[in-house]
């Protein structure tokens, strides 16, 4: 849909003409912004304090941040304790049902936000099973059939007497224990049948197929490998509960996997996810570069760049028998109504819904901060670890054959 809008806007620009004028700065620059997701039963909460600005917001190092729980001042921070100088760590532990208020003072500005920490979901259970030939539609709207791991989880609604708002998050822990093999330096011949003038050869450095010597742990909003596929209490997913994205339609994707207790109020919610663990196979370190042992991870740029001091395996390690493991931390978080609104907004934002402001005008971001901007959301969470793969031994990678000249 966004493409249609963009085409129309382009057509309007084509027949129209543009004029420009400078706009003078006004009070919108330098507005205090406070942001934070504050978790109950947690002593590592953080509040982000910035000032709005042209081009980018500016960090605020020396604001005064106050945390009140049920009206009682519990903690005051007068300086940022993070390297970037904008996060203010809070150690106060609060509980579901507590009224949270964060006040921030900076210069002559005072901004505050309030939320009531919702009750936590209860009795989380999760299990995993292998499922062959599972048909699904991937994040690029392509039809796929794969062998997948099916994760089934269920939990009890916190309070059936009212509307509750939840978010499911899945956090992967996977890695390899051991090294597969090492392929010695070889000469590569590349031939083009129709363009023989382009044929060439080069000598490849030693290739390390390092099936991970590290314990990786990641999750992320852009993770497309897992998504809610069925929802037992409501077989047809409500649109806002889908993670499904369509390349053409530019849907607002449910990246944060938020949903309400509409169909299971007072009861249990059961969901299944299908995990594609094939990504682990991509987690090889390959180097086809004849100029050196520059290693790169798989093409996904969102993955962390390996540190420069990355340690290559020793020959001894290469002889080890490799195994890898993979497990999930399944978490269910409970949000207040305003926290839910916020996550809906973030879903829209990440889905690129604000990117055609020429036609829609700028979209005002959701905020629950008085005297400034941003949002504070109080969250309750329960988690459970599920083992998906433990001790799997992948097939050794075949060596290539020397081309015949």
């Amino acid at each position: 849909m966004k493409r249609i809008f963009s085409m129309i806007f382009s057509a309007l620009l084509l027949i129209g003409c543009n004029t420009y004028e400078d706009i003078t700065l006004d009070e919108t620059v330098g507005t205090l912004g406070i942001n934070g997701f504050l978790y109950s039963q947690c002593d590592t909460n953080k509040v982000l304090v910035t000032l709005t600005g042209i081009g980018s917001p500016a960090p605020v190092k020396n604001a005064t941040v106050e945390l009140r729980v049920n009206g009682q001042l519990c903690e005051t921070k007068t300086a940022s304790d993070s390297l970037q100088g904008k996060y203010y760590g809070l150690k106060t532990i609060f509980n579901p049902g507590d009224h949270i208020r964060v006040d921030v003072y900076y210069g002559n500005q005072h901004a505050y936000a309030e939320d009531v920490c919702p009750a936590a979901p209860k009795d989380l259970d999760a299990a995993v099973e292998f499922e062959e030939n599972y048909a699904y539609r991937d994040a690029y709207d392509e039809f796929e059939i794969d062998d997948l791991y099916k994760v089934t989880m269920s939990f009890a609604d916190a309070d059936g007497s009212k509307e509750n708002y939840y978010r499911v998050s899945l956090d992967k822990h996977y890695g390899y224990e051991g090294i597969v093999e090492k392929v010695e330096s070889k000469t590569i011949y590349v031939e083009y049948e129709n363009y023989p003038e382009d044929n060439y050869s080069y000598t490849m450095d030693t290739v390390y197929y390092c099936h991970g010597i590290k314990h990786l742990h990641r999750s992320g909003i852009a993770d497309i490998a897992n998504y809610i596929t069925t929802y037992e209490n409501n077989p047809e997913l409500r649109p806002e509960e889908r993670i499904y994205d369509s390349y053409f339609w530019d849907d607002v994707c449910n990246y944060f996997r938020i949903f309400k207790n509409t169909s299971f109020a007072g009861g249990r919610c059961t969901m299944t996810f299908h995990e594609d663990v094939n990504f682990a196979d991509y987690n090889h370190i390959r180097d086809y570069d004849k100029n050196g042992r520059k290693v790169r991870y798989w093409h996904d740029e969102k993955w962390p760049t390996p540190p420069s001091e990355f340690k290559y395996s020793t020959d001894e390690e290469l002889n080890d028998i490799p195994t890898y493991f993979y497990y999930e931390t399944v978490s269910v978080e409970s949000y207040s109504a305003q926290g839910y609104e916020l996550l809906q907004t973030l879903n829209s934002y990440i889905s690129g819904q604000y990117s055609i402001s020429e036609l829609t005008g700028s979209v005002k971001m959701y905020s629950n901060v008085s005297g400034g901007t941003g949002y504070i959301a109080a969250v309750s969470r329960i988690s459970k670890i599920v083992k998906v793969i433990d001790g799997y031994q992948p097939e050794p990678i075949k060596d290539f054959e020397e081309p015949q000249n």
């Binding site: 849909m1 249609i4 809008f5 085409m7 129309i8 309007l12 620009l13 027949i15 129209g16 003409c17 543009n18 420009y20 004028e21 400078d22 706009i23 700065l25 620059v29 942001n35 997701f37 978790y39 590592t44 909460n45 953080k46 982000l48 709005t52 042209i54 980018s56 917001p57 039809f143 590569i188 590349v190 049948e193 129709n194 314990h215 990641r218 999750s219 409500r238 649109p239 806002e240 053409f248 339609w249 849907d251 607002v252 962390p304 305003q338 609104e341 916020l342 809906q344 907004t345 973030l346 934002y349 604000y354 402001s357 829609t360 005008g361 700028s362 979209v363 959701y366 941003g374 949002y375």
Partner: protein, 805 residues
């Protein structure tokens, strides 16, 4: 309703008033007994009825642009007099308005009759005469983007205007993203526009009513009109099927933009294509069974089609490589494929109306309505590989939104005495709303991988359809209490049933008129209106992707309470003066919540919007010269309108903000001058204060929920935040765009040929090329902000050649 008891013997004079040449019924013609000083007007089907005391009567039948006819006789029994008025050929002046039904003599206020001639003399974009463009020039009406058909009445949203085509609502009133309205001018007979004093028979929108009636067709002779312009051409044919009893009217319009653009596309778009066209078809058949029964069947279909795509037809080679890039084989095949992106939308409306005269005092009209609006957008890809590779891939995804209505209406006009004109009736409509439907079809057949072949149709879980039942009853009495005081109490009650929930709206309305001096009148009115559909829209450009959605348990019916008072003076011959002031309160106005907008499928639309309130107040002045060689009007509106949402609604933090089209000042000058019989000059100049836009002048930080990251890979612990920056907006509609003004000129040359009349019309839209800012956006360039103002329509000259035969 209170009726005066009859005193003395009374009898009724009734009948139809028609055009003498075409036998087309005349709407709003004045019927006046000069002896008793009582009068009435013909209704929307040309029928009139007046009950008078027995004795000598001196009836006068008049309508602007027609010669007045008189009939003098002794009334002793109920009498049927069908009157045929002949056009006034003596006067050469351009007569612009006929205001009997809605002018100073009417109890109603805030309403305007717009005859076709008035529409024809409004210069517009590309010479396309347009009902809506004429309405935009009247006081209290604000334009959307310049040149578009969007209009906003007294601070109301665009979806609060009920536009009726022969009694059926039109959901999408424009083509080409708002630059053409769907009403073919040649098909239109008369338009009545109401912005207050809403008659009780009109329900379903809260801000205005535009009642468009199409021509019935000439009962006596065949006529036609052919008009061709730069972007579109029109055809109108009308004539008798059975002379004096059955007639037809057919009109069609289409654009040929694609053909005009073809040379450019051929040069710049080699393997790609672009098409856009729209068309309108109006057809109507009218049969007169007797003086008591008439049947009208009308049909309208209008469609817009937009398509962009490309084609592939080439030989290709696929190389097979091993893991190290070495070629280990190849396949040659032929690739033939095509793909396109499309957007289509359109209305189909059909009505059947039966007029029956039960008695000289009771007239009934029964209407059956079928109304369908749909929009479809999507993409289609098809690829066929033949040769060493045999593969067929097909995918199509279609998003649709549609509404289908089936309705039945019965309206009665009961005229028991000259003091009372009573209208009552009932209507029922079955609505079928399917706001969002997404279906994807996928075929992938590869001879090498039969196990992975796909042939499937997926219907994605989007919004479910909603079925609504709407029932309404109404009654009104236009009661002339004395010679200088009249009163019109009325009430409509609607019941809307949807999703097993009933919404009942009682809509009392009240108008009064007091002639406190000769040629002076004071009017006051109160109207409560309600509507059970909302239009969700994200852009100022009229987009077919805007969603019509019904009320639900969350989205309550929108209501308006409108108070108006006005003064009118007609003491100067050919001149009308009016001042109207109003205060309007809107309840349950829909607005997207902060952070939400509709440019994709955002899921449950009910969750994306919030309900709030709006207020609008203003004063409107109008000076109008109604006849003579020079006609036209000057109008000025001073108004203010804003929106107010609760603090917890998620809209603008509960702070009041201006309505997007809250334009403080609005001036329109419309001028038509006829020079002899051959030459006409039409001009309009408009000035509007700038509309409001939401612009971000700064950036703020956005924080995502916790993001797990591994410490060993650069993370900093279990709970790791992830942040980005986005636009920071303090308030909705925080920026006022520069004022808009422009001059439109139309020059027409008439030439009478042997068998037809030829008219050349040259028009200049935005004649002095004012660069009005229609859209705006902020650009952050280093440490400075720049406002980019986008002018969509600069000076656009055009011509239209018309033949009337």
């Amino acid at each position: 309703m209170i009726c005066n008891a009859a005193s003395g013997q009374k009898h009724t004079i009734s009948g139809y008033i028609t055009d003498q040449k075409s036998q087309e019924t005349v709407i709003g013609a004045a019927v006046f007994d000069q002896n008793s000083r009582h009068g009435t007007i013909s209704n929307t089907f040309g029928f009139y009825s007046i009950t008078l005391n027995d004795g000598a009567v001196k009836m006068r039948y008049s309508y602007v642009g027609y010669q007045t006819q008189e009939a003098e006789f002794n009334l002793t029994k109920d009498t049927v007099i069908n009157i045929s008025l002949s056009e006034n050929t003596v006067l050469s002046e351009v007569v612009v308005t006929g205001r009997k039904e809605t002018g100073i003599e009417s109890t109603k206020m805030g309403s305007l009759d717009i005859p076709v001639k008035m529409i024809e003399h409004t210069p517009t974009l590309l010479g396309e005469t347009d009902v809506i463009k004429t309405i935009q020039l009247t006081p209290g009406v604000q334009q959307g983007i310049g040149g578009s058909s969007a209009f906003y009445v007294r601070g109301g949203n665009g979806d609060e205007n009920l536009v009726l085509l022969d009694g059926a609502p039109v959901y999408k009133i424009d083509h080409l993203f708002g630059f053409f309205s769907v009403f073919t001018p040649e098909a239109v007979k008369k338009v009545t526009f109401y912005k207050s004093s809403f008659p009780a028979r009109y329900n379903g929108r809260v801000s205005s009513i535009v009642d468009v009636r199409t021509k019935d067709g000439d009962m006596q002779e065949f006529h036609g009109t052919v008009a061709t312009g730069i972007l579109s051409s029109r055809l109108n044919l009308e004539g008798p099927i059975f002379k004096g009893r059955t007639s037809y009217n057919f009109s069609a319009r289409t654009t040929y933009m694609t053909f005009l653009a073809y040379p450019f596309m051929k040069k710049f778009m080699q393997d790609e294509f672009f098409t856009y066209f729209f068309y309108d078809v109006n057809a109507k058949i009218n049969h007169k069974f007797s003086n008591r029964d008439r049947l009208y069947v009308s049909f309208y279909k209008g469609i817009d089609k937009f398509e962009y795509g490309g084609k592939t037809d080439l030989d290709e080679t696929e190389y097979k490589n091993d893991d190290y890039g070495r070629i280990i084989g190849q396949k040659n095949y032929h690739n033939k494929g095509e793909d396109d992106v499309y957007l289509n939308w359109g209305n189909t409306i059909s009505t059947m109306r039966w007029n029956h005269v039960f008695s000289s005092q009771l007239f009934a009209n029964t209407t059956l309505i079928y109304n369908h609006y749909d929009m479809n957008t999507g993409y289609h890809e098809e690829t066929k590989l033949t040769g060493d590779v045999n593969r067929y891939q097909y995918s199509k995804s279609n998003f649709g939104s549609e509404i289908t209505d089936y309705g039945a209406i019965i309206d009665f006009d009961y005229m028991p005495s000259p003091r009372h004109a009573i209208k009552f009736g009932a209507s029922y409509t079955y609505h079928n709303f399917a706001p969002e439907t997404l279906i994807t079809k996928e075929i992938d057949k590869d001879s090498e991988r039969p196990d992975e072949n796909v042939d499937t149709v997926m219907s994605h879980a989007h919004s479910r359809p909603h079925y609504g039942n709407e029932l309404s009853v109404y009654a009104e009495n236009d009661w002339k209490i004395s010679s200088n005081i009249s009163l019109m109490p009325s009430c409509a009650i609607t019941l809307f049933n949807i999703d097993h929930k009933n919404f009942i709206n009682i809509q009392p309305r009240f108008s009064m008129k007091y002639d406190f001096l000769e040629n002076w009148a004071m009017k006051a009115s109160y109207s409560r209106m309600s509507q059970c559909v909302h239009l969700l829209t994200s852009t100022p450009v009229s987009m077919p992707t805007d969603l019509w959605v019904p009320i639900t348990q969350k989205l309550k019916p929108e209501t308006s309470d409108l108070f108006s008072i006005g003064f009118y003076y007609t003491g100067l011959k050919m001149w009308d003066f009016s001042i109207e002031t109003y205060y309007k309160y809107l309840n349950n106005v829909v607005e997207y919540k902060d952070g939400k907008s509709y440019v994709g499928f955002a899921g449950s639309w009910e969750d994306l919007v919030a309900l709030g309130s709006g207020t609008s107040k203003g004063i409107e002045f109008m000076i109008e010269k109604t006849s003579g060689k020079a006609t036209g009007w000057i109008s000025y509106t001073l108004s203010k309108s804003d929106r107010d949402f609760a603090e917890n609604s998620g809209v603008n933090f509960g702070r009041k903000f201006p309505f997007t089209y809250d334009r403080r000042h609005n001036v329109s000058i419309v001028y038509t001058q006829r020079f002899g019989k051959r030459f006409e000059l039409d001009a309009s100049w408009t000035y509007y204060s700038g509309a409001h836009a939401t612009l971000a002048k700064a950036k703020e930080t956005v924080l995502y929920p916790d993001y797990y990251d591994d410490e060993e890979w650069g993370g900093r612990g279990l709970i790791q935040t992830n942040e980005t920056k986005t636009d920071y907006v303090v308030n909705k509609n925080n920026y006022t765009l520069p004022a808009v003004h422009m001059l439109n000129i139309g020059i027409s040359f008439h030439e009478q040929k042997k068998r037809c009349e030829r008219i050349w019309n040259f028009s200049f839209y935005n004649a002095y090329n004012r660069k009005n800012a229609n859209l705006a956006r902020i650009k952050h360039e280093d440490e400075r902000l720049r406002l980019q103002k986008i002018t969509i329509l600069p000076l656009i000259p055009s011509f239209t050649l018309t033949y009337k035969f």
